[in-house]
């Protein structure tokens, strides 16, 4: 005879089955939750990898653009002597060679000063080289402003390297007896040298 549907044994069995079913449900929920979490983590990792790859591609493209834009110019500058180490004697020759032209002004004397690191705002991005400045100050006499302009123009054009005429003082000495209209000049010319980043300045320099 079959066990009655609503007997104690049947109820006990039913409750056991229900409990087992609930346990199975809980386990299934836990399993799929774990799968979902794993899928989420996989998605996050993949998104990070994609972001990293995108950054790498952007950087590569930027580098390619920079190389295309500046490589030839840089090589030209190197060929022109951008990276040649500064030598005061050579610089002195350059300066005197620039003065040999017939420009009328008379150089009384000049001094090439100590090396000094240049750390202006324009060099913040430059890490491959250190910019070293070499200041040349000279005194000269010119008959008038045109001679002075010719002198400065000649220096600017003839002196090689990265140079800048950064300061000048023009004085007209009206009290002098010989040349009442002569101009006394005191100017500064600065060479900028691109030295390797491990360059150290020494007192002898």
């Amino acid at each position: 005879m079959r066990t009655p549907r609503y007997s104690k044994a049947a109820l006990h069995r039913t409750l056991q089955c229900c409990a087992a079913a609930m346990v199975v449900c809980v386990l299934a929920v836990g399993f799929v939750s774990a799968r979902r979490t794993a899928a989420q983590q996989r998605g996050e990792r993949a998104a990070q990898r994609a972001q990293t790859a995108k950054s790498r591609l952007d950087i590569a493209n930027q580098h390619r653009v920079l190389i295309d834009k500046y490589r030839d110019r840089y090589q030209d500058l190197v060929r022109e002597g951008l990276l040649v180490r500064f030598d005061r004697a050579v610089a002195s020759d350059w300066f005197e060679a620039a003065l040999s032209a017939k420009n009328g002004a008379r150089i009384d004397g000049y001094v090439i000063g100590k090396d000094a690191l240049y750390a202006g705002p324009g060099t913040a991005e430059l890490s491959a080289f250190r910019v070293v400045s070499h200041r040349l100050e000279f005194n000269a006499t010119a008959a008038d402003e045109d001679e002075f302009a010719d002198l400065m123009n000649s220096i600017q054009k003839r002196v090689p390297g990265t140079t800048a005429e950064e300061a000048c003082s023009v004085t007209r000495d009206r009290q002098s007896s010989g040349d009442a209209e002569a101009l006394a000049l005191h100017c500064a010319l600065v060479w900028y040298e691109f030295a390797p980043s491990n360059t150290e300045l020494t007192a002898s320099q």
């Binding site: 009655p4 994609a50 500058l77 000063g113 491959a128 600017q156 000048c168 003082s169 691109f194």
Partner: protein
């Protein structure tokens, strides 16, 4: 097989089983039983076996056992108004005291009148109610059938007397509110009388068939009315409301029914057929003699709970069925929720996996593209950023060169409107005062040996003296005008360092009239010119 409501209708001479099928109520078994089972034991055992075999066919049904015989007792009890729990305890104790010989006992459902408690207070009556106790007083005749149900652990939802269920018929009679009714129902056992007041059933009796024929109905109604009057349930004192007598019979009497009455005993009698009461008609039962099936429905059983089966082991299976149903429903709910969650999560997981796969493909593609771009890029001595930095820095440094000719031309243009001012000194440099030029730079070098950071300004100084014929005030004004003209011409900011004639509050002025040689007429003006490093001059 689908579980249905199964009604077991027990009379003194027969047992009938009805099932509530989707198509309507249907008679599924009719078993005759010996009136005296102690005399005809073999026949009784055959009947029980038939019943058991019938029960075995429907193990899932919900069983309602309804008895319709004379072995029942009704007792009115006046009880105080108590809480529900105390009232139940009190009524249970009274039932046990009143009906010791049977376990099949119960309380007729009571319908409280609205605001009954307040009405009693207003009438200065003690707050009491009258409850009707009833019992099936011959349990031996029911025991074989109920034991068969209990042995099979069938889902027995209750045990009721047909008379206790009869107040449900008042719903069909459409009686006026607060009226009394005497309902006469023809059943398999005879004519079942039930006196129903607004508070519920007050009295019920079964009149077995007699030899009186068509006159039996009228005679029995007269007897019942006499009993009601005698027991002061109707027709006395304040209880002389209109009595509605309804005779429900599929085969009405051929003799006209009359009700004896007077001024105090107003009665109205109507005869009804079952087909007039129920819209959904079980056709096979409509014209049968037995109209007890009118009460085999949920509406009639709703108020009664387990009926006379309350508190006995017969209801254990029902309780277990409830537990089973609750457990199955809970499990089904949990399973449904889990299935929904599983489906939702599975969809989400697939979406995440699809997105992850797409992202991985994109990452791989971009990595390959980046690698090819890197490999295709020309080799250089420096990093690309350093290439740019070197070139741009070199351009900026070159741009620091100040165009002396241009500066002097602009200065001359600014000086033109002031012919009485003679310029003796012209200085320019970056940053600080050009006077520091001779000291080695625009500003003092820092202690660490690095060159001073040149601000992006060119400082121009113009020095000279005013003409001898110029009035002192005009000389000062000319210097001020020169400073303004220089600032305008060079887009800078002027500053007068020295006027030809000191007008400061703390200063002094030393001069002699017509003494030109002794006068100190020097002036000095500076202009600070902001420059863009990209365009230094």
């Amino acid at each position: 097989m689908r579980a249905c409501n199964h009604y077991v209708y027990i009379t003194a001479t027969a047992l009938e089983c009805y099932r509530d099928l989707p198509g309507g109520l249907a008679l599924t078994a009719s078993i005759s039983t010996p009136r005296n089972m102690s005399v005809d034991r073999d026949s009784h055992e055959v009947s029980v076996r038939q019943f058991e075999s019938h029960l075995d066919q429907y193990p899932r049904d919900r069983y309602f056992v309804i008895t319709d015989n004379q072995a029942e007792a009704y007792q009115a009890e006046t009880v105080p108004t108590l809480s529900r729990r105390d009232l139940n305890l009190l009524l249970t104790r009274k039932l046990e005291q009143r009906y010791r010989t049977t376990g099949y006992r119960g309380v007729v459902p009571h319908r409280s009148r609205p605001y009954a408690f307040i009405r009693n207070l207003a009438r200065r009556r003690s707050p009491t109610t009258t409850r009707i106790l009833y019992a099936l007083i011959n349990p031996e005749t029911l025991a074989p059938w109920l034991d068969a149900l209990e042995r099979r652990a069938l889902n027995v939802r209750g045990l009721y007397s047909l008379g206790a269920l009869m107040p449900a018929l008042t719903m069909h009679l459409k009686l006026p509110a607060r009226s009394d009714a005497l309902i006469v129902l023809r059943t398999a056992a005879g004519y079942r009388h039930a006196f129903v007041s607004p508070s519920g059933l007050r009295f019920s009796r079964l009149c077995a068939y007699s030899n009186a024929g068509d006159t039996q109905v009228g005679q029995e109604i007269d007897k019942t009315l006499q009993y009601l009057t005698m027991t002061r349930l109707w027709g006395v004192d304040s209880r002389h409301r209109m009595l509605h007598i309804a005779v429900i019979d599929a085969q009405p009497s051929s003799v006209a029914l009359t009700v004896p009455g007077n001024n105090l005993r107003m009665a109205e009698l109507v005869q009804l057929r079952p087909r007039e009461l129920v819209p959904k008609r079980p056709e096979a039962l409509l014209d049968a003699t037995n109209s007890a099936w009118l009460l085999f429905n949920h509406a009639a059983l709703r108020e009664h709970g387990f009926g006379c089966a309350a508190g006995i082991s017969l209801q254990d299976a029902s309780r277990r069925a409830n537990y089973r149903r609750a457990a199955l429903c809970s499990t089904a709910a949990v399973a449904a929720v889990s299935a929904g969650y599983l489906a939702f999560t599975e969809i989400a997981t697939r979406e995440h996996n699809a997105l992850a796969s797409t992202s991985e493909l994109i990452a791989e593609h971009m990595n390959i593209t980046a690698q090819s771009t890197e490999q295709a890029a020309p080799k250089t001595d420096l990093e690309p950023e350093q290439l740019r930095a070197v070139v741009q820095t070199r351009d900026r440094l070159l741009a620091r060169s100040i165009d002396a000719a241009g500066l002097m031309q602009r200065t001359a243009a600014a000086l033109a409107p002031f012919p009485d001012l003679d310029v003796d000194l012209l200085e320019w440099s970056y940053g600080g005062s050009p006077a520091a030029l001779g000291a080695g730079g625009a500003s003092p070098p820092p202690s660490d040996g690095s060159a001073p950071v040149s601000p992006d300004n060119i400082v121009l100084r113009v020095g000279g003296h005013s003409g001898a014929n110029l009035l002192k005030s005009n000389a000062n004004a000319a210097v001020a005008g020169l400073a303004a003209a220089l600032a305008h011409e060079l887009n800078g900011q002027q500053s007068i360092e020295k006027l030809p004639f000191d007008v400061a509050p703390g200063g002094t002025l030393a001069a002699r009239p017509k003494g030109v040689d002794a006068a100190k007429t020097e002036f000095s003006v500076t202009v600070t010119i902001p420059v863009n490093p990209e365009h230094a001059s």
